[in-house]
Symmetry: C2
Subunit: 153 residues, 2 copies
Amino acid sequence: MLSIGEMSRRTGVKVPTIRFYEDKGLLEPAARTTGNQRRYSHAALDRLAFIRHARDLGLPLGDIATLISLEGATGATLDRAHVIAQRQRDRLRARIVNLGKLERELDRIAGACDGHHDGPCAVLHAFGDHGPCAGDHRNNDQGNDQGAPRGTR
Amino acid sequence: MLSIGEMSRRTGVKVPTIRFYEDKGLLEPAARTTGNQRRYSHAALDRLAFIRHARDLGLPLGDIATLISLEGATGATLDRAHVIAQRQRDRLRARIVNLGKLERELDRIAGACDGHHDGPCAVLHAFGDHGPCAGDHRNNDQGNDQGAPRGTR
DNA sequence: CTAATCTCTCCAGTCGCTAGAGCTTCAAGG
DNA sequence: CCTTGAAGCTCTAGCGACTGGAGAGATTAG
């Protein structure tokens, strides 16, 4: 049986985050000691590692919950897991293409200012000016933040 | 003078979001009609377009506020604008590299399941299994969400 | 004048955490 | 056995960048 701190150390998921996952139903409520502290099985450890990994891959918690609910399922139900993986990969692909466009534009903007500061700033102008970028770098990105900033680890 | 709805139509920024920007100090409080409705100048329209564009490029509102405060400045102060653009470009670059790794892994996961659903699902196993990926696709991405999901536009 | 559309303010919710307050429990050393 | 300090508990609030709804008032077209 593992304490919550032990779980945290082994998976790299912060302690409050573990409690948060329990609250959201991603982890089953842990068993408790007589003093009300959580104690986890190794199965729970595996589950937390699974969640962690899926989060690293950018899956939203809702999708992760779906994957968990599919555990132990067989047959056609499992197509849903496949669909989630594919959808996430496609989201990521679209996002990479989009970010590539943004990068090129930021290049242009950063390059617009190369040291001579006389008149109004070219960088500021470039930020305001949407013309030079072919026009469609808009980020109509659905879904959540792929690869969330979760603090430094 | 433009109504808030007109501003929204012309920039693609939603009405509540415009009010939100005002609240956050990115837009100066608009003039009001006798009936308390906001009326905007064309300068305000330009400013909103600027914000919109910078947001599309993934700049956090704090950075945008800094850029705005630099408007009209000259000389060395403007280096700050340059630094913001470069920093953002670098964040984006790092992020693209990282997302590329994630994409390859999702490819592996999605590929793990190719139709035959007999035993336990390979996709689920692949999500749980961190081994095959060289190990360091972790997303220790600092900074905010580059290219925010702002709903469908 | 009336009906339809806009706009107003305020509040609550989203997502995935993170941090703090103020308290209790646990394990190890003396 | 007692103390000490780390680790745990619950609860609440906050982040960023919005989004949506309620219920009221303003404006505009016919």
